[in-house]
């Protein structure tokens, strides 16, 4: 099987984000493979291990994003494609088109995995637009995946502890959620081997991606300060709790 997995190079979730200018941020922080993409990568690797074939990771990002492709290569992905772009927070429509073009120029996809959302722009839509561009069905928030009778049967979290069991035809796009699998940690020899695996770099301009004016624009990015030091309650457990309940009821009016 020819399996593609879309990955994103994002600031570590523990990093402090420093806003620069109106809509930019400082890149002087640690970057990682988007956490949800780890589940996508793991599932893609497992499918190919079982069915045979090839896993190709595709990333749209700045040149530094090659590090994220290498970390996917270190856990079993065969090769990578980096579509280079200048923007820090590119529009989902552009990214989806770039991914679609990079994939269809590379080969015939049997399956495409992606994370359900990125932790930088939290757009929650790129894989849907990618599916539309590739003319494939898509299921997201997937927590269980298996191939069956030429299609796939997946389970999707749908709220309130409920899960939908969905049959989807192949080829398709799958948005991975936590719970889908346990991503493996890379071993040192694999990290070294990953350095030798091929990564093809293409410029987004060479893909002739249309960048229409979508009419939707990020105009401001602002830091959200943490709330300050808590009001600490004192006294015996019972006194503290009684005072807390009074505050929540009378002052805050949240009970």
């Amino acid at each position: 099987m020819q399996v593609y997995v879309c990955v994103k190079h994002v600031p570590d979730t523990a990093a402090n984000i420093k806003v620069e200018g109106d809509t930019g941020y400082s890149e002087g922080v640690k970057f990682v493979l988007n956490p949800y993409d780890e589940y996508a990568v793991e599932e893609a690797v497992r499918v190919v291990k079982e069915k045979g074939g090839e896993v190709i990771a595709v990333c749209v990002g700045k040149p530094a994003a090659v590090a994220t492709l290498r970390s996917a290569l270190a856990v079993g992905v065969d090769r990578g494609i980096l579509v280079k772009i200048d923007e820090q927070l590119p529009d989902a429509c552009v990214v989806a088109q770039a991914l679609a073009k990079a994939i269809s120029q590379d080969g015939e996809a049997d399956l495409v995995f992606a994370g359900r959302q990125s932790v930088d722009s939290e757009g929650m839509q790129t894989h849907y637009r990618l599916a539309a561009a590739l003319d494939m069905p898509v299921v997201s928030d997937v927590v269980a995946f298996s191939l069956k009778d030429g299609g796939a049967v997946v389970e999707r979290e749908c709220g309130g502890g409920a899960r939908e069991v969905i049959e989807v035809s192949l080829p398709c796009v799958i948005g991975a959620n936590k719970g889908l699998n346990e991503p493996r940690y890379p071993k040192l020899p694999d990290v070294l081997k990953a350095k030798k695996k091929p990564v093809k770099e293409v410029d987004i301009a060479s893909l002739a991606v249309e960048t229409p004016e979508t009419g939707c624009r990020l105009t401001k990015l602002a830091a959200v300060p943490d709330r300050g030091q808590a009001t600490m309650l004192s006294g015996s457990v019972r006194e503290m709790v009684t005072e807390l309940v009074r505050i929540l009821e009378e002052d805050e009016k949240v009970l």
């Binding site: 402090n16 930088d120 939290e122 757009g123 929650m124 749908c158 899960r163 069991v165 959200v224 943490d226």
Partner: protein, 316 residues
């Protein structure tokens, strides 16, 4: 005044309360409440109380909407065209985000998910970037755009109008590529975390799945949903569907009570927009006390049962 379509999420008891905030945000515009479950008449009273002028029973000319999210999205896209809607919005629940993303892809229109604020007149929204560490403002000037709203982002406020019930048989059919075979409910009566007004969450110190009973007892008095930290989920004390934080649920309740949580950045990513945050922790130097509203230094195994007791007494 814009023409705004609001996808309405329904449950066993009809219109879910969490929709009222979305309707409130749209009220004052020409609001079309889009009902995809077949009972628009049953949803009328709830929708008109929050300002919807039209309650539309959306069906497909062929196929049942509940069988396929793809078909539902096609029907919603057809509704946008049929009523010339400028905006399609809805609750940013798992299903809401799924349907709006599908519809946006069909319409090739911009979409902003999980918005924490919206002004339909100005065409601006706010949403989280970088797990709640920054807030991003977007300006939407597209002829058609979509947005989902984070549950509890807008306080519901009634603005009653008299609504008309109409029906739309969308000229769409199902591709058959995405088929819902069944819906499994592992635990009945579980309150959806993201829609709860009050949440009480346990961390690693809960020490066992069994001990979560303590939180459930307290939650029953609070009318709260029970959440868990990543550490508690990874230790097997609670299912992933209960996880709050990065790689879990993002919640925005009026009251969030954190029991035995250190206050990691990743956890705050999922609950930072709560109105009031209370922390209970044995360690007076726990980072969580530096970024919440009220703190109790104490053992959750002592504090939580007393809280349950005090809440019980208050009722009687």
């Amino acid at each position: 005044m814009a023409k705004i379509g609001v996808w309405i999420e329904t449950g066993e008891d009809g219109v879910k309360e969490a929709n009222f905030g979305v309707l409130t945000a749209a009220a004052g515009h020409e609001v079309f409440a889009l009902i995809c479950n077949g009972d628009a008449a049953g949803c009328k009273a709830a929708c008109e109380r929050y300002g919807a002028q039209k309650v539309v029973e959306v069906t497909a000319e062929s196929g049942k909407l509940s069988d396929s999210p793809d078909l539902t999205a096609r029907a919603l896209a057809a509704a946008v065209k049929a009523y010339d809607l400028q905006v399609l919005t809805g609750l940013g629940s798992l299903n809401g985000r799924d349907l709006l993303a599908r519809t946006a892809a069909i319409l090739d229109a911009p979409l902003l998910q999980d918005c924490t604020a919206v002004d339909f007149s100005a065409g601006t929204v706010e949403k989280s970037h970088f797990s709640g560490k920054t807030v991003a403002t977007f300006e939407c000037r597209a002829p058609v755009w979509l947005c989902s709203l984070r549950p509890n982002a807008v306080e519901p406020k009634a603005s009653p109008v008299a609504a008309e019930v109409v029906s739309l048989a969308a000229p769409v059919s199902d591709s058959g590529a995405v088929k819902i075979l069944e819906v499994r409910r592992d635990a009945s009566g579980v309150m959806e975390l993201t829609e709860a007004n009050v949440i009480i969450t346990g961390g690693r110190p809960m020490d066992s799945a069994e001990n979560f009973k303590l939180l459930h007892e307290c939650a029953a008095e609070l009318g709260a949903a029970v959440g868990a930290s990543r550490a508690a989920v990874d230790a097997g004390f609670a299912p992933h569907s209960m996880q709050v934080g990065q790689t879990g649920k993002t919640v925005s309740p009026r009251l969030y009570i954190a029991c035995g949580l250190s206050g990691s950045v990743q956890h705050f990513a999922g609950m930072k927009t709560s109105k009031v945050i209370v922390a209970i922790n044995t360690d007076k130097d726990a980072p969580i006390f530096g970024k919440c509203n009220y703190g109790i230094v104490g053992d959750l195994f002592e504090v939580v049962p007393v809280l349950t007791e005090v809440l019980k007494e208050r009722k009687s």
